[in-house]
Amino acid sequence: MTQPIRVLLAKVGLDGHDRGVRVVARALRDAGMDVIYSGLHRTPEEVVDAAVQEDVDILGVSLLSGVQMTVFPKIFKLLDQKGVDDLIVVAGGVMPDEDVVELKKMGVREVLLQDVPPKTIVETLTRLVDERGAR
């Protein structure tokens, strides 16, 4: 039997908008994934440490405060410093199209914006783990 996909969902910075991240947490849990939710107001350091310690397949960062171009570079820098190269990083929230392009260049595998149906999120994350293969 295959191991369930392990996901860390995180809110980084001062943003308190957590409606979306909690809907996603529930949808992933209902789909049989192991879900850890960081709670609010975390720093990039805390989130990266937790992702490593919990040995998750996916780190999902939810942002509705417009700071994606500050937060994601920090996360990738920290992952780089720790030599983590097989963590799948995805973004969620409200962000302009030009940022989505930049984030993907930076290494964010998918950007899941508002109104993406829960089942699409489950399918997307499952596909990303399949593509990565077992580790």
Binding site: G13, G16, V23, V67, T70, V71, M95, L113, D115
Partner: protein, 559 residues
């Protein structure tokens, strides 16, 4: 209505169902087995006088008279339109000041201020947690000098100012008072509102700093200070908007808001202040969602419930303590990124419902807010939407024009019944303060949010451009609000200058006094806070000092 007439109406309905309806259904079935409002209230095919069975005429009443179902004032928009209050805030005080002046020039009649996340959460702009956030989603305010720039050249005795801020609300209020005193204004002439509703933060918006108890004490202090010194100022905006945006149903929005109201009133009464001495300045803030008639019924029911709570539960005798006044905002969560210009239509319908529901002020969202904070162009369109409703549609000529509608009245009464059911349940379980800390409200909001996501996924809740009428063609290019990368540098420069220029001895004496006041819950925190901001204290000075005494709140998330 007498029993005989009622029986006759019911007989006729039965007859109609057996004949016209039954025959028609054979030819063409209805689209769905059952119909519901967005908030899950079942609705009938048609409403008649028989549906007013549980609505005594005195519950409908007249505008400006108890129980205020039809409006807080007797003449409503015939005397004065609602205040058109578009929220604005980005960059530094100077940047937002320009937007304020632009909006005023476009015919806006009130000011509303959005603060950036560091200001909302009590961090100075040069704190590491503020990195990337300074002036991004609102205006950055660290010190009184920032507020002076924000309201430069705007006569605060002439225009009302609303400030959307919560855990740090009292600091902003202190700055506002200090600014007014500096300019020689009469505090009793200032009109405006500070949101300062911390309970809904724990429930929904999640902007909190301190634990619940000291946070509620701060709110109490704002209310009592304002009641004594600022006769026209609303020291709190008890808000359902954020509860709704966090995913609640419209019923939960109003019921939970009124549950919070009860806590605040009880806390102020404990100080010995009489209900009629502060209740007239309690103000509310609700969303206007997409279900047109349901929202109108919701607003009417909120007014009726508030009136009854204030009169029956708290013994208010002044009618002004019983009339609910509310600010309204169209529903940001209803905006879509695909086919974004459709957002103008959504917002128009919601704004129309808000006006038919009798709001006192209104913010209409920009069509681009599913991308970023709005541009000037989006805000102009949003303001024009209100102006068209107010000046071209003539809906403002008659007070509560839907009063007497069988459907709206029946739904209003049904809302009232359910709201009181929830309030009774909250009472039985030990009150809102206790339930917030147990996550009771949070769980229900999360449940409805999840349900809504599933309904959008299945198409049961249609969203044009998302799950209905999806158009593969690309939308016209959109120019979103740009973020000025020099903001943080400009902002931090001023904050550091204020710190360098203040009298360190006086400042530290005042900070000691703040600690003393904070430790004594019988003291009011406002006077020392006003002195401190005048002496050059920053937002972070207050919050870091008090965090050392009161600690930090951390929630156990429910999902």
């Amino acid at each position: 209505m007498d029993a005989k007439t009622m029986t006759a109406i019911k007989d006729e309905i039965r007859d109609w169902e057996q004949n016209e309806v039954a025959q028609f259904l054979k030819k063409q079935a209805e689209r769905k087995e059952a119909f519901y409002t967005l908030g899950d209230f079942p609705v009938k095919r048609v409403y008649t006088a028989a549906d007013l069975e549980h609505t005594p005429p005195e519950d409908i009443g007249l505008p400006g008279r108890y129980p205020f179902t039809r409006g807080p004032y007797p003449t409503m928009y015939r005397s004065r339109n609602w205040t058109m209050r578009q929220i604005a805030g980005f960059g530094t005080g100077e940047d937002t000041n320009k937007r304020f002046k632009y909006l005023i020039a476009q015919g806006q009649t009130g000011i509303s201020t959005d603060f950036d996340m560091p200001t909302l959460m009590g961090y100075d702009s040069d704190h590491p947690m503020s990195d990337g956030e300074v002036g991004r989603e609102g205006v950055a305010i660290d010190t009184l000098a920032d507020m002076e720039a924000l309201f430069d050249g705007i006569d605060l005795e002439k225009i009302s100012v609303s400030m959307t801020i919560n855990p740090t609300a009292w600091i902003l209020l202190a700055m506002y008072i200090a600014l007014a005193e500096k300019r020689g204004y009469d505090l009793n002439k200032l009109s405006g509102t500070v949101q300062a509703d911390i309970l809904k933060e724990y429930m929904a918006q999640k902007e909190y700093i301190f634990p619940v108890e000291p946070s509620v004490r701060i709110v109490r202090d704002c209310i009592t200070y304002s009641a004594r010194h600022m006769k026209r100022y609303n020291p709190i905006n008890i808000s359902g908007y954020h509860i709704s945006e966090a995913g609640s149903s419209p019923l939960q929005e109003v019921a939970f808001t009124l549950a919070n109201l009860i806590v605040y009133v009880e806390e102020v009464l404990k100080t010995g202040m009489k209900v009629d001495d502060f209740a007239p300045r309690l103000a509310f803030f609700f969303v206007c969602q997409a279900d047109f008639f349901e929202e109108i019924a919701k607003f009417r029911a909120a007014r009726r419930c508030y009136a009854k709570i204030m009169k029956e539960r708290f013994g208010a005798t002044n009618p002004e303590s019983m009339r609910l006044r509310f600010h309204c905002q169209t529903a940001a969560a209803s905006l879509t990124k695909p086919q974004y210009m459709v957002n103008v239509i959504r917002t128009t319908l919601q704004a129309l419902a808000a006006s038919l529901g009798g709001c006192q002020s209104l913010h209409t969202n920009g069509y681009d807010e599913a991308f970023a904070i709005p541009t000037e162009d989006a805000m102009r369109m949003a303001l024009r939407t209100q102006q068209v409703i107010a000046e071209e549609s003539n809906v403002t000529q008659v007070v509560d024009p839907l009063g007497g509608s069988y459907y709206v009245e029946a739904l209003t009464t049904e809302y009232e019944r359910k709201i009181f059911e929830i309030i009774e349940d909250v009472d039985k379980r030990g009150g809102a303060l206790k339930l917030i800390q147990e996550g009771w409200f949070q769980r229900q909001i999360a449940d409805f949010a999840y349900e809504t996501a599933l309904r959008k996924q299945s198409g049961e809740k249609p969203v044009i451009g998302v799950n209905r009428f999806v158009d593969g063609a690309p939308d016209p290019e959109i120019h979103t609000h740009p973020y000025d990368v020099t903001t943080a540098t400009r902002q931090i420069e001023r904050t550091r200058r204020v710190r360098a220029e203040r009298d360190p001895v006086k400042f530290s004496q005042l900070l000691d006094k703040l600690v003393e006041v904070a430790k004594d819950p019988n003291e009011n925190i406002m006077p020392i806070s006003i002195e401190l901001v005048k002496a050059g204290a920053t937002m972070g000075d207050f919050v870091e000092t008090l965090r050392a005494i009161w600690g930090t709140y951390r929630e156990t998330p429910v999902y």
